[in-house]
């Protein structure tokens, strides 16, 4: 293989839509230990279709930064195991996904947990820890 040209380019950013879902294995990990490695592994991740990943030049296992007006997190990128037409990325509902959810509900009190817009780019940083998601005084 040639040189990894990506290294020499400005880190490209893409706009993505994220929707959240539930996962029984993650729910099990939550019951056991919400500060544990297992829960983080199953939560701090974003699933994308193969095509979307290819289009953005990402590969499974990459760490990506997700950023919007509400927050910024680093998670692991995984290939969706399901058949997906693409265009939408998926995250299991967790404090990580919630870091990106807007509190503005038009006064109705129900946030857009399942309709999140964010920018995605490759990250050098480590995956965000749960400790970082707890606000400190």
């Amino acid at each position: 293989m040639g040189i990894d040209i990506g290294k020499f380019l400005k880190n490209p950013e893409y706009e993505i839509k994220i929707t959240t879902y539930r996962d029984i294995f993650q729910a099990e990990a939550l019951e056991r230990d919400r500060f544990g490695e297992e829960y983080r592994k199953l939560s701090a991740a974003i699933m994308m279709s193969k095509n979307d990943m290819k289009r953005m030049g990402f590969k499974p296992g990459d760490r990506v930064k997700l950023t919007n007006d509400n927050g910024s997190i680093v998670v692991e990128l995984r290939e969706s195991k399901r058949e997906e037409p693409g265009g939408v990325a998926f995250m299991v509902n967790s404090p990580w996904s919630n870091a990106l959810v807007s509190g503005d509900t038009g006064g109705r009190g129900i946030p857009e947990f399942k309709n999140i817009s964010a920018m995605i780019s490759l990250a050098k940083e480590e995956v965000t820890t749960i400790e970082r998601l707890i606000i400190v005084r």
Binding site: I24, F25, E28, E83
Partner: protein
Amino acid sequence: MPTVMELYQLLPKTNCKKCGESTCMAFAVALLSRKKNIQECPPVLEGKFKEQKDKLESLLLPAAGAEETGLIVHPELCTGCGNCVVACPVDVANDPKGAGIGGAPTNDKVIFRVLDGKVVASNIKECRRFGMNRVLCYACIDPCPTGAIEFV
């Protein structure tokens, strides 16, 4: 038993989808679990794949008779949802008021039970895939959300 990879290596690997699966790999998995047979892949029936086709057939032959009890549960994939417990016709016949109506099994004659959130299989000799009047039953495989049950 052959592995999925062994079967896959013998397929045309063009992902042409003519078999109804989205990839040759998916078709190989379907072959192994006996949901599909080789005849459903038109390209491999063409003359130039004769060798591969013969090899595939010989690999798949022994289990086609379903003589041995090749039931495997992958506990790491199982969610404990109990779909297989309730759907298995043996469980329904042997425990109509328990497993048959969606509840916990009320006796030891069922094939599937959920222990610590994962399925364990026993009484496998009762499975309809074996014995005199065997049929190719999929009643536990089809309802499984994660592919945790396999016959090899």
